[in-house]
Subunit: 194 residues, 2 copies
Amino acid sequence: MNFCSECGHPVRVGIPDDDNRPRHICDNCHTIHYQNPKIVAGTVPVYQDKVLLCKRAIEPRVGYWTLPAGFMENEETTADAAARETWEEAQAQVDIRHLYMLIDTTAISQVYMMFLADMPEPVFGAGPESLEVGLFSEDEIPWDELAFPTIEKTLRQYFSDRRQGHFPLHQCQVTKEDRDRFFTSLHHQAVSNG
Amino acid sequence: MNFCSECGHPVRVGIPDDDNRPRHICDNCHTIHYQNPKIVAGTVPVYQDKVLLCKRAIEPRVGYWTLPAGFMENEETTADAAARETWEEAQAQVDIRHLYMLIDTTAISQVYMMFLADMPEPVFGAGPESLEVGLFSEDEIPWDELAFPTIEKTLRQYFSDRRQGHFPLHQCQVTKEDRDRFFTSLHHQAVSNG
Ligand SMILES: [Zn+2]
Ligand SMILES: [Zn+2]
Protein backbone atom coordinates (compact mmCIF):
# COMPACT_ATOMS: atom_id res chain seq x y z
CA MET A 1 0.00 0.00 0.00
CA ASN A 2 1.45 3.32 -1.17
CA PHE A 3 -1.55 5.65 -1.39
CA CYS A 4 -4.67 6.30 0.69
CA SER A 5 -7.62 4.52 -0.91
CA GLU A 6 -9.96 7.20 0.46
CA CYS A 7 -8.25 10.44 -0.63
CA GLY A 8 -5.32 9.39 -2.86
CA HIS A 9 -2.64 11.00 -0.64
CA PRO A 10 0.59 9.02 -0.05
CA VAL A 11 0.45 6.98 3.17
CA ARG A 12 3.19 6.47 5.72
CA VAL A 13 3.83 3.49 7.99
CA GLY A 14 3.67 4.25 11.69
CA ILE A 15 2.14 3.17 14.98
CA PRO A 16 -1.05 5.15 15.66
CA ASP A 17 -1.77 6.54 19.13
CA ASP A 18 -3.48 3.91 21.28
CA ASP A 19 -2.16 1.11 19.07
CA ASN A 20 0.89 -1.13 19.24
CA ARG A 21 1.37 -2.22 15.63
CA PRO A 22 2.58 -0.42 12.52
CA ARG A 23 -0.26 0.57 10.17
CA HIS A 24 -0.57 2.51 6.94
CA ILE A 25 -1.61 6.00 8.00
CA CYS A 26 -2.95 8.86 5.86
CA ASP A 27 -1.91 12.25 7.24
CA ASN A 28 -4.27 14.03 4.85
CA CYS A 29 -7.68 12.47 5.72
CA HIS A 30 -6.47 10.69 8.90
CA THR A 31 -7.66 7.25 7.83
CA ILE A 32 -5.80 4.30 9.36
CA HIS A 33 -5.69 1.39 6.91
CA TYR A 34 -5.82 -1.98 8.66
CA GLN A 35 -4.83 -5.24 7.02
CA ASN A 36 -6.37 -8.46 8.28
CA PRO A 37 -6.13 -12.19 7.55
CA LYS A 38 -8.22 -13.64 4.75
CA ILE A 39 -10.44 -16.69 5.01
CA VAL A 40 -9.95 -19.48 2.48
CA ALA A 41 -13.11 -21.62 2.51
CA GLY A 42 -13.31 -25.04 0.91
CA THR A 43 -14.55 -28.58 1.18
CA VAL A 44 -13.46 -32.18 1.42
CA PRO A 45 -16.07 -33.53 -1.06
CA VAL A 46 -16.64 -37.21 -0.33
CA TYR A 47 -18.25 -39.82 -2.56
CA GLN A 48 -18.12 -43.36 -1.15
CA ASP A 49 -14.42 -43.99 -0.33
CA LYS A 50 -13.13 -41.21 -2.57
CA VAL A 51 -12.51 -37.47 -2.37
CA LEU A 52 -12.75 -34.95 -5.18
CA LEU A 53 -9.59 -33.12 -6.23
CA CYS A 54 -8.97 -30.39 -8.81
CA LYS A 55 -5.85 -29.85 -10.90
CA ARG A 56 -5.18 -26.13 -10.79
CA ALA A 57 -5.42 -24.13 -14.04
CA ILE A 58 -4.34 -20.86 -12.39
CA GLU A 59 -1.36 -19.52 -10.48
CA PRO A 60 -0.10 -20.15 -7.90
CA ARG A 61 0.75 -23.83 -8.38
CA VAL A 62 -0.67 -24.47 -11.86
CA GLY A 63 -0.84 -28.19 -12.57
CA TYR A 64 -0.85 -29.27 -8.91
CA TRP A 65 -3.83 -30.89 -7.20
CA THR A 66 -6.00 -29.21 -4.59
CA LEU A 67 -9.27 -29.56 -2.74
CA PRO A 68 -11.80 -27.00 -3.96
CA ALA A 69 -11.18 -23.84 -1.91
CA GLY A 70 -10.86 -20.11 -2.37
CA PHE A 71 -11.21 -16.68 -0.81
CA MET A 72 -14.48 -16.08 1.00
CA GLU A 73 -16.45 -13.13 -0.39
CA ASN A 74 -18.25 -10.41 1.52
CA GLU A 75 -21.91 -11.04 2.41
CA GLU A 76 -21.78 -14.84 2.27
CA THR A 77 -21.53 -17.42 5.04
CA THR A 78 -18.43 -19.57 5.46
CA ALA A 79 -20.37 -22.71 4.53
CA ASP A 80 -21.88 -20.99 1.47
CA ALA A 81 -18.40 -19.85 0.43
CA ALA A 82 -17.11 -23.43 0.68
CA ALA A 83 -20.03 -24.78 -1.37
CA ARG A 84 -19.66 -21.98 -3.95
CA GLU A 85 -15.97 -22.70 -4.44
CA THR A 86 -16.78 -26.40 -4.85
CA TRP A 87 -19.28 -25.54 -7.54
CA GLU A 88 -17.01 -23.06 -9.32
CA GLU A 89 -13.86 -25.18 -9.32
CA ALA A 90 -15.27 -28.70 -9.53
CA GLN A 91 -18.85 -28.20 -10.74
CA ALA A 92 -20.04 -30.45 -7.95
CA GLN A 93 -23.10 -29.93 -5.74
CA VAL A 94 -22.29 -30.89 -2.16
CA ASP A 95 -24.13 -31.17 1.13
CA ILE A 96 -22.01 -29.44 3.74
CA ARG A 97 -21.68 -31.47 6.95
CA HIS A 98 -19.62 -29.32 9.32
CA LEU A 99 -16.39 -27.41 9.78
CA TYR A 100 -13.66 -30.01 9.78
CA MET A 101 -10.22 -28.33 9.55
CA LEU A 102 -9.40 -24.87 10.86
CA ILE A 103 -5.83 -24.19 9.76
CA ASP A 104 -3.96 -21.03 10.68
CA THR A 105 -1.33 -20.28 8.05
CA THR A 106 0.32 -17.41 9.87
CA ALA A 107 3.17 -16.89 7.39
CA ILE A 108 0.70 -15.79 4.71
CA SER A 109 -2.07 -14.55 7.05
CA GLN A 110 -4.70 -16.93 5.74
CA VAL A 111 -7.20 -18.93 7.78
CA TYR A 112 -8.25 -22.12 6.02
CA MET A 113 -11.73 -23.34 6.86
CA MET A 114 -12.31 -26.73 5.26
CA PHE A 115 -15.77 -28.29 5.57
CA LEU A 116 -16.56 -31.98 5.33
CA ALA A 117 -19.10 -32.40 2.52
CA ASP A 118 -21.07 -35.23 0.94
CA MET A 119 -21.48 -35.64 -2.81
CA PRO A 120 -24.96 -37.15 -3.35
CA GLU A 121 -23.93 -38.13 -6.90
CA PRO A 122 -20.51 -38.58 -8.55
CA VAL A 123 -21.20 -35.64 -10.85
CA PHE A 124 -18.45 -33.07 -11.40
CA GLY A 125 -16.42 -31.25 -14.03
CA ALA A 126 -13.54 -28.85 -14.52
CA GLY A 127 -14.56 -25.24 -13.81
CA PRO A 128 -12.58 -22.37 -15.40
CA GLU A 129 -9.92 -22.51 -12.64
CA SER A 130 -9.34 -26.27 -13.03
CA LEU A 131 -7.59 -28.29 -15.73
CA GLU A 132 -9.06 -31.58 -14.57
CA VAL A 133 -11.21 -32.87 -11.70
CA GLY A 134 -11.43 -36.39 -10.35
CA LEU A 135 -12.38 -38.71 -7.49
CA PHE A 136 -9.45 -40.35 -5.68
CA SER A 137 -9.31 -43.13 -3.10
CA GLU A 138 -6.55 -42.93 -0.47
CA ASP A 139 -4.03 -44.95 -2.49
CA GLU A 140 -4.78 -42.96 -5.65
CA ILE A 141 -4.12 -39.51 -4.12
CA PRO A 142 -1.23 -37.79 -5.96
CA TRP A 143 0.62 -37.10 -2.69
CA ASP A 144 3.70 -35.73 -4.47
CA GLU A 145 1.70 -33.37 -6.64
CA LEU A 146 -0.45 -31.54 -4.09
CA ALA A 147 -0.66 -27.76 -4.38
CA PHE A 148 -0.38 -26.61 -0.75
CA PRO A 149 0.62 -27.98 2.66
CA THR A 150 -2.88 -27.17 4.00
CA ILE A 151 -4.30 -29.55 1.40
CA GLU A 152 -1.90 -32.35 2.31
CA LYS A 153 -2.64 -31.87 6.02
CA THR A 154 -6.39 -31.98 5.41
CA LEU A 155 -6.24 -35.10 3.24
CA ARG A 156 -3.95 -36.99 5.66
CA GLN A 157 -6.27 -36.11 8.55
CA TYR A 158 -9.33 -37.15 6.58
CA PHE A 159 -8.05 -40.64 5.72
CA SER A 160 -6.76 -41.10 9.27
CA ASP A 161 -10.14 -40.10 10.74
CA ARG A 162 -11.87 -42.32 8.22
CA ARG A 163 -10.18 -45.36 9.77
CA GLN A 164 -11.57 -44.27 13.17
CA GLY A 165 -14.98 -43.52 11.68
CA HIS A 166 -15.40 -40.07 13.18
CA PHE A 167 -14.51 -36.60 12.00
CA PRO A 168 -14.17 -34.06 14.80
CA LEU A 169 -13.07 -30.47 14.17
CA HIS A 170 -9.29 -30.20 14.04
CA GLN A 171 -7.60 -26.91 14.76
CA CYS A 172 -4.00 -26.70 13.67
CA GLN A 173 -1.35 -24.50 12.14
CA VAL A 174 0.81 -24.56 9.04
CA THR A 175 3.96 -22.68 10.00
CA LYS A 176 6.55 -21.00 7.80
CA GLU A 177 8.79 -24.04 8.45
CA ASP A 178 6.01 -26.39 7.32
CA ARG A 179 5.67 -24.39 4.14
CA ASP A 180 9.41 -24.30 3.46
CA ARG A 181 9.63 -28.07 3.98
CA PHE A 182 6.61 -28.74 1.75
CA PHE A 183 7.71 -26.60 -1.18
CA THR A 184 11.38 -27.58 -0.92
CA SER A 185 10.65 -31.30 -0.98
CA LEU A 186 8.46 -30.82 -4.03
CA HIS A 187 11.16 -28.78 -5.73
CA HIS A 188 13.79 -31.45 -5.07
CA GLN A 189 11.47 -34.02 -6.45
CA ALA A 190 10.85 -31.97 -9.56
CA VAL A 191 14.61 -31.62 -10.06
CA SER A 192 15.27 -35.30 -9.57
CA ASN A 193 12.45 -36.11 -11.97
CA GLY A 194 13.57 -33.58 -14.57
CA MET B 1 -12.47 2.98 -1.85
CA ASN B 2 -11.88 5.87 -4.26
CA PHE B 3 -8.20 5.62 -5.21
CA CYS B 4 -5.80 2.80 -6.05
CA SER B 5 -3.68 2.04 -2.99
CA GLU B 6 -0.81 0.94 -5.27
CA CYS B 7 -0.53 3.87 -7.71
CA GLY B 8 -2.92 6.57 -6.44
CA HIS B 9 -5.04 6.64 -9.63
CA PRO B 10 -8.86 6.85 -9.20
CA VAL B 11 -10.50 3.41 -9.28
CA ARG B 12 -13.73 2.41 -10.97
CA VAL B 13 -16.22 -0.28 -9.97
CA GLY B 14 -16.69 -3.00 -12.57
CA ILE B 15 -16.74 -6.74 -13.09
CA PRO B 16 -13.30 -7.96 -14.21
CA ASP B 17 -12.94 -10.50 -17.03
CA ASP B 18 -13.26 -14.05 -15.65
CA ASP B 19 -15.07 -12.77 -12.56
CA ASN B 20 -18.75 -12.42 -11.66
CA ARG B 21 -18.70 -9.74 -8.96
CA PRO B 22 -18.12 -5.99 -9.01
CA ARG B 23 -14.63 -5.03 -7.78
CA HIS B 24 -12.63 -1.84 -7.48
CA ILE B 25 -10.42 -1.78 -10.58
CA CYS B 26 -7.45 0.46 -11.35
CA ASP B 27 -7.17 1.16 -15.07
CA ASN B 28 -3.71 2.69 -14.58
CA CYS B 29 -1.74 -0.14 -12.93
CA HIS B 30 -4.42 -2.85 -13.56
CA THR B 31 -4.66 -3.89 -9.91
CA ILE B 32 -7.98 -5.43 -8.87
CA HIS B 33 -8.78 -4.57 -5.25
CA TYR B 34 -10.64 -7.36 -3.49
CA GLN B 35 -12.55 -6.89 -0.25
CA ASN B 36 -13.04 -9.86 2.04
CA PRO B 37 -14.75 -10.65 5.34
CA LYS B 38 -12.90 -9.93 8.57
CA ILE B 39 -12.46 -12.36 11.45
CA VAL B 40 -13.50 -11.22 14.91
CA ALA B 41 -11.79 -13.52 17.42
CA GLY B 42 -12.76 -13.70 21.08
CA THR B 43 -13.38 -15.87 24.09
CA VAL B 44 -16.02 -16.99 26.55
CA PRO B 45 -13.75 -16.72 29.64
CA VAL B 46 -15.14 -19.03 32.33
CA TYR B 47 -14.37 -19.02 36.05
CA GLN B 48 -16.47 -21.49 38.06
CA ASP B 49 -20.14 -20.72 37.16
CA LYS B 50 -19.37 -17.24 35.82
CA VAL B 51 -18.25 -15.63 32.57
CA LEU B 52 -16.16 -12.50 32.15
CA LEU B 53 -17.75 -9.51 30.44
CA CYS B 54 -16.36 -6.09 29.50
CA LYS B 55 -18.24 -2.78 29.40
CA ARG B 56 -17.14 -1.09 26.19
CA ALA B 57 -15.19 2.17 26.43
CA ILE B 58 -15.05 2.66 22.65
CA GLU B 59 -17.47 3.02 19.75
CA PRO B 60 -19.50 1.29 18.55
CA ARG B 61 -21.78 0.60 21.52
CA VAL B 62 -19.96 2.47 24.27
CA GLY B 63 -21.32 1.49 27.67
CA TYR B 64 -22.75 -1.87 26.55
CA TRP B 65 -21.39 -5.23 27.68
CA THR B 66 -19.45 -7.63 25.49
CA LEU B 67 -17.31 -10.72 25.64
CA PRO B 68 -13.66 -9.90 24.90
CA ALA B 69 -13.29 -10.00 21.11
CA GLY B 70 -11.74 -8.01 18.29
CA PHE B 71 -10.30 -8.06 14.81
CA MET B 72 -7.71 -10.74 14.18
CA GLU B 73 -4.33 -9.36 13.10
CA ASN B 74 -2.04 -10.63 10.36
CA GLU B 75 0.55 -13.26 11.33
CA GLU B 76 -1.25 -14.59 14.41
CA THR B 77 -3.36 -17.70 14.90
CA THR B 78 -7.09 -17.48 15.57
CA ALA B 79 -6.62 -18.86 19.10
CA ASP B 80 -3.77 -16.44 19.79
CA ALA B 81 -5.93 -13.57 18.52
CA ALA B 82 -8.72 -14.60 20.90
CA ALA B 83 -6.32 -14.83 23.86
CA ARG B 84 -4.69 -11.50 22.93
CA GLU B 85 -8.04 -9.70 22.81
CA THR B 86 -8.94 -11.21 26.19
CA TRP B 87 -5.71 -9.86 27.63
CA GLU B 88 -6.06 -6.43 26.01
CA GLU B 89 -9.71 -5.84 26.90
CA ALA B 90 -10.06 -7.71 30.19
CA GLN B 91 -6.46 -8.17 31.38
CA ALA B 92 -7.20 -11.83 31.96
CA GLN B 93 -4.92 -14.77 31.15
CA VAL B 94 -6.98 -17.64 29.75
CA ASP B 95 -6.39 -21.22 28.67
CA ILE B 96 -8.09 -21.65 25.31
CA ARG B 97 -10.13 -24.86 25.11
CA HIS B 98 -11.53 -24.97 21.56
CA LEU B 99 -13.51 -23.10 18.94
CA TYR B 100 -17.04 -22.89 20.31
CA MET B 101 -19.12 -20.47 18.21
CA LEU B 102 -18.58 -19.78 14.51
CA ILE B 103 -21.03 -17.01 13.64
CA ASP B 104 -21.43 -15.65 10.13
CA THR B 105 -22.65 -12.06 10.27
CA THR B 106 -23.23 -11.63 6.57
CA ALA B 107 -24.77 -8.14 6.76
CA ILE B 108 -21.48 -6.70 7.99
CA SER B 109 -19.15 -9.34 6.45
CA GLN B 110 -17.66 -10.42 9.74
CA VAL B 111 -16.96 -13.98 10.88
CA TYR B 112 -17.06 -14.31 14.67
CA MET B 113 -14.86 -17.05 16.09
CA MET B 114 -15.50 -17.38 19.80
CA PHE B 115 -13.34 -19.81 21.79
CA LEU B 116 -14.29 -21.44 25.05
CA ALA B 117 -11.59 -20.52 27.58
CA ASP B 118 -10.80 -21.26 31.22
CA MET B 119 -9.67 -18.63 33.69
CA PRO B 120 -7.25 -20.38 36.08
CA GLU B 121 -7.65 -17.48 38.53
CA PRO B 122 -10.34 -14.78 38.90
CA VAL B 123 -7.81 -12.10 37.98
CA PHE B 124 -8.84 -9.39 35.50
CA GLY B 125 -9.05 -5.66 34.97
CA ALA B 126 -10.28 -2.99 32.57
CA GLY B 127 -7.95 -2.59 29.58
CA PRO B 128 -7.93 0.70 27.63
CA GLU B 129 -10.97 -0.34 25.55
CA SER B 130 -13.08 -1.25 28.60
CA LEU B 131 -14.79 0.90 31.24
CA GLU B 132 -15.33 -2.00 33.61
CA VAL B 133 -14.83 -5.78 33.64
CA GLY B 134 -16.60 -8.35 35.78
CA LEU B 135 -17.60 -11.97 36.31
CA PHE B 136 -21.29 -12.74 35.87
CA SER B 137 -23.36 -15.84 36.64
CA GLU B 138 -26.30 -16.60 34.34
CA ASP B 139 -28.86 -14.64 36.39
CA GLU B 140 -26.48 -11.69 36.72
CA ILE B 141 -25.86 -11.21 32.97
CA PRO B 142 -27.06 -7.77 31.85
CA TRP B 143 -29.17 -9.26 29.04
CA ASP B 144 -30.71 -5.90 28.10
CA GLU B 145 -27.37 -4.14 27.93
CA LEU B 146 -25.37 -6.42 25.64
CA ALA B 147 -23.40 -4.79 22.83
CA PHE B 148 -24.06 -7.10 19.87
CA PRO B 149 -26.42 -9.92 18.84
CA THR B 150 -23.42 -12.25 18.37
CA ILE B 151 -22.61 -11.78 22.07
CA GLU B 152 -26.18 -12.51 23.18
CA LYS B 153 -26.28 -15.62 20.97
CA THR B 154 -22.98 -16.89 22.37
CA LEU B 155 -23.97 -16.34 26.00
CA ARG B 156 -27.41 -17.97 25.61
CA GLN B 157 -25.77 -20.97 23.92
CA TYR B 158 -23.15 -21.20 26.63
CA PHE B 159 -25.59 -21.32 29.55
CA SER B 160 -27.81 -23.75 27.65
CA ASP B 161 -24.88 -26.07 26.93
CA ARG B 162 -23.75 -25.71 30.52
CA ARG B 163 -26.96 -27.38 31.67
CA GLN B 164 -26.18 -30.30 29.31
CA GLY B 165 -22.55 -30.36 30.41
CA HIS B 166 -20.99 -30.38 26.95
CA PHE B 167 -19.88 -27.67 24.58
CA PRO B 168 -19.75 -28.73 20.94
CA LEU B 169 -18.88 -26.31 18.14
CA HIS B 170 -21.94 -24.38 17.02
CA GLN B 171 -22.07 -22.89 13.56
CA CYS B 172 -24.76 -20.30 13.05
CA GLN B 173 -25.62 -17.01 11.43
CA VAL B 174 -26.67 -13.57 12.60
CA THR B 175 -28.76 -12.16 9.75
CA LYS B 176 -29.63 -8.57 8.94
CA GLU B 177 -33.08 -9.27 10.43
CA ASP B 178 -31.49 -10.57 13.64
CA ARG B 179 -29.47 -7.39 13.86
CA ASP B 180 -32.45 -5.12 13.17
CA ARG B 181 -34.47 -6.92 15.85
CA PHE B 182 -31.63 -6.77 18.37
CA PHE B 183 -30.84 -3.10 17.96
CA THR B 184 -34.48 -2.01 17.65
CA SER B 185 -35.54 -3.76 20.82
CA LEU B 186 -32.65 -2.13 22.67
CA HIS B 187 -33.55 1.24 21.24
CA HIS B 188 -37.19 0.88 22.32
CA GLN B 189 -35.99 -0.05 25.74
CA ALA B 190 -33.75 3.00 25.91
CA VAL B 191 -36.67 5.21 24.89
CA SER B 192 -39.05 3.68 27.42
CA ASN B 193 -36.39 4.00 30.11
CA GLY B 194 -35.54 7.57 29.16
ZN1 LIG C 1 -6.42 9.76 3.00
ZN1 LIG D 1 -3.33 1.51 -9.61
